[in-house]
């Protein structure tokens, strides 16, 4: 019943699709927004709107204050040591591109290498490929085991002196496994190698503490964690952020500009060129307030309970479908580190056919390579069907999904 109350906070969940009540299971692609987020954006667009920083009037003060409060909120949410560790970007992709561009410009040289985990989203692979190409460095891949876990056995060999940075997936958007990021970071640090964590899914499905993880960078998107689209975060340790050159330039990220030469502001502004998405970014405040209730507040217990049941249910029931392969499950059916993200392929049933039938039944799932083509190749498929659940999804929806999936399979075979 608690989940039903949570659902009421999200207007989108009251919607219909193709004449059926919407069952939204594409949360790893983007989350729905709680009422408080919608209202804040509405309020800002409707009046609390003025460009941030350096204005000398009340309205501008108010918006700037909100924008900077969002920085405090994010810092607190991931337990960053200081607010200056938080750079606002436009999403995980732009956060990672920033590091791939600026860290590598400063620290990557010909012959060096970058280690990327094999479950990487394109956004945490391609920027490194391009950065490596630019200087003649290479990208190495940490292989995956058959069940989707990192194959840590390879790590010793891969982590050598040539590696200048490790790019790791906290939780893969395909496999839904919480990876041993802390352990990886310890190992990398023992060789003096920094670690960037792609937390696009990790920040949604686990309680993130960047000081505990001790990672050097942590990237995530606002739109996947209840905030507005076009918002993102890059957490970085100060020592790196201060050493790195700026990424984009222009606007208020400067110290002094002449026609001949420019010096730059300190962090975080150095990395925030141009007018930021101040309205969207301010929505981190209500979004993360809500997320904190889920990860450590009053909603933790009911959500954990429901999610746990969903994971158990689908981990057990999905494989009963004839010819179905479920990707990303810890050995011996251990569901401890599994989050409610279920990617499958089913013999004789093409993913987009399944999704089309589910669509007619009101269910939104994702199919295709899910921006992880090499991962598809790893498992010998071109496409999967993914159902990804959020804190507002119910066991009942999981059951309905299974029922409809079975129906689709019957129709297609």
């Amino acid at each position: 019943m608690k989940i039903e109350e949570i659902r009421k906070m999200f207007p989108a969940l009251q919607g219909m699709m193709n004449g059926k009540p919407l069952v939204y299971l594409d949360n790893s692609a983007t989350s729905q927004k709680p009422r408080e987020v919608i209202d804040l954006i509405d309020k800002m667009n409707g009046g609390m709107n003025a460009n941030v920083h350096r204005s000398v009037y009340k309205l501008g003060d108010d918006v700037t204050e909100l924008f900077e409060k969002a920085r405090d909120t994010v810092a607190k949410f991931i337990n960053a040591p200081e607010r200056e560790n938080i750079i606002f970007t436009y999403g995980t992709t732009s956060s990672i591109n920033l590091v791939a561009s600026c860290y590598c410009a400063r620290f990557l040289e010909h012959g060096d290498s970058i280690l990327v985990t094999g479950d990487a989203h394109h956004s945490n692979l391609v920027p490194w490929q391009l950065a490596a190409e630019r200087v003649g460095a290479s990208v190495k891949i940490l292989p995956l085991k058959e069940n989707g876990e990192w194959d840590m056995a390879y790590l010793g060999n891969l982590l050598d002196k040539s590696v200048k940075i490790v790019a790791a997936t906290h939780i893969s958007n395909v496999l839904g496994l919480v990876n041993p990021v802390k352990k990886l970071t310890e190992l990398a640090h023992s060789l003096g190698i920094p670690v960037l964590v792609d937390g696009a899914q990790g920040v949604v499905h686990s309680k993130v503490d960047v000081r505990d993880l001790d990672c050097d960078f942590y990237a995530f998107s606002g739109h996947k964690i209840y905030a507005a689209t076009g918002t993102g975060v890059l957490y970085g340790k100060k020592k790196w952020l201060e050493e790195m050159p700026p990424y984009m330039s222009g606007g208020e990220m400067i110290d002094k500009v002449t026609y001949a030469h420019t010096t730059f502001a300190g962090i975080p502004l150095k990395f925030e060129a141009g007018t930021p998405n101040f309205t969207g970014t301010a929505s981190f405040i209500p979004a993360l307030d809500f997320a904190a209730r889920v990860s450590s507040g009053d909603l933790k217990e009911p959500v954990e309970k429901e999610t746990g049941e969903i994971v158990k249910y689908l981990s057990t029931e999905l494989p009963k479908i004839d010819g179905l392969r479920l990707y990303g499950l810890h050995e011996k059916g251990n569901t401890e580190n599994k989050v409610p993200v279920f990617s499958v392929s089913i013999e004789g049933c093409f993913p987009s056919d399944i999704a089309q039938i589910l669509d007619k039944l009101g269910i939104a799932v994702r199919t295709g390579h899910m921006c992880a083509e090499p991962l598809m190749n790893r498992f010998g498929v071109t496409s999967m069907v993914r159902a990804s659940f959020a804190c507002y999804n119910t066991l009942q929806e999981a059951k309905f999904y299974l029922e409809c999936l079975n129906k689709a399979v019957r129709m297609l075979r």
Binding site: N18, F350, P351, S352, D353, Q356, I357, K360, T367, G368, T382, S383, M411, L412
Partner: protein, 154 residues
Amino acid sequence: MKIQDIENEIVEEFSAFTDWMDKYEYLIDLGKNLPIIDNGYKTDGNLINGCQSRVWLSCTISDGKLYFSADSDAIITKGIISLLIRVFNGQSPEDILKSDLGFIDKIGLKENLSPTRANGLLSMIKQIKLYALAFSEKRRDIKEEKINKKEGEK
């Protein structure tokens, strides 16, 4: 039979279905029965990449009429392809160029042709029209022959 008549015929057939499930089951059946393209023609040259599903299309001309065979890895897409082929097969390039395929909307499959679905169908229709265009311009000076996509694009 004229394109418009075949379209009408299809609309008539689909009017028998009372809900989407019957319609989809019919499409799936059609898809299953679509004569698989000769493996020889399932080449990269005949491939239309659609992100969600791939479509292969090959075209033959005989007696001034065009004939198509096609395949897709998605069965519903294949079912719709089979409708398209039924409409287009044996038609003249000129008639194909003129057709607007209004029946797709009428039988309620519009979303399958939307560019957002990226299932290759839209590109396939574009390709069919390109073939038709190529033949309508070239037919006077070409022999009956099979051409592949690359030529059709010229």
